[in-house]
Symmetry: C2
Subunit: 151 residues, 2 copies
């Protein structure tokens, strides 16, 4: 666990309180599951983990909680593929972009200050405000390159 659960719980509780929302057993259980590892995951995968551990959290609650955590800026949703959103932690994590393997879907994070800077320049040149960006580089990861060669 990269961030202490207490800290995560505290943060989410405070964000909820601001909007007059409540901390519930289900939300607590989901938080624990989500921040237990730093993996990228889909709503469906999270729900499967709930079922596997018999947490008694419904699919609807999983989806609703992911939306809340994204609004709270504790998670970020990515459109790597068109079929399902992929979530990842952003609470207490530096911003980064992604290398995505087109074969096995493995995701590797990277940061590049120079690219960040040029993006701001581009937005300014076009008189757009800079809210956010998504940069994904697609290619074969080292493992899949090896597998492909040995075919």
């Amino acid at each position: 666990m990269e961030v202490s659960f207490d800290k995560v719980l505290d943060k989410f509780t405070k964000v909820l309180k601001k909007s007059n929302l409540r901390m519930t057993e289900q939300r607590k259980k989901l938080l624990e599951l989500i921040f237990d590892s730093h993996d990228h995951f889909t709503a469906e995968e999270l729900y499967d983990r709930c079922k596997a551990r018999d947490l008694g959290v419904s699919k609807a609650t999983v989806y609703r909680s992911l939306t809340l955590l994204t609004e709270a800026e504790m998670l970020e949703a990515h459109n790597f593929a068109q079929n399902a959103l992929v979530y990842e932690h952003i609470y207490e994590h530096e911003h980064h972009d992604h290398l995505v393997c087109t074969e096995c879907s493995k995701v590797v994070e990277f940061t590049c200050e120079a690219i960040e800077k040029y993006q701001r320049d581009v937005a300014k040149e076009n008189r757009f405000t800079f809210e956010s960006h998504s940069l994904n580089i697609f290619g074969l990861c080292p493992d899949c390159q090896r597998k492909q060669k040995s075919k």
Copy 2:
């Protein structure tokens, strides 16, 4: 029309032939609609234009043709939002990235050689092959900034 229809028709016909596929009336009509402007569009929008002009092309054929044109590398599909793929011409057009307005969904194209170069470097550093990338910068376009101020 930015590319002559004859050229587009010729290209698609050749690609189809390679896979033992046929040029049909429906595919011809869709090509004409698609390459008549350089706008970004969704499958649904294209289908609506078909209906408006009474072209007699079904939704299934629209979807199937968009897939074929993407495979033929005449169109590219983008995941700007999670709800619908947005298509654009890439045949006879330079590669570029996108500024997307978070308010009105307007898309502005840009190219930045420096960013392209850094991306290749990042892929190499992580021993990924470089197949493609998607870079989208999200913010408010000039028009929407103006509207927001005057509220």
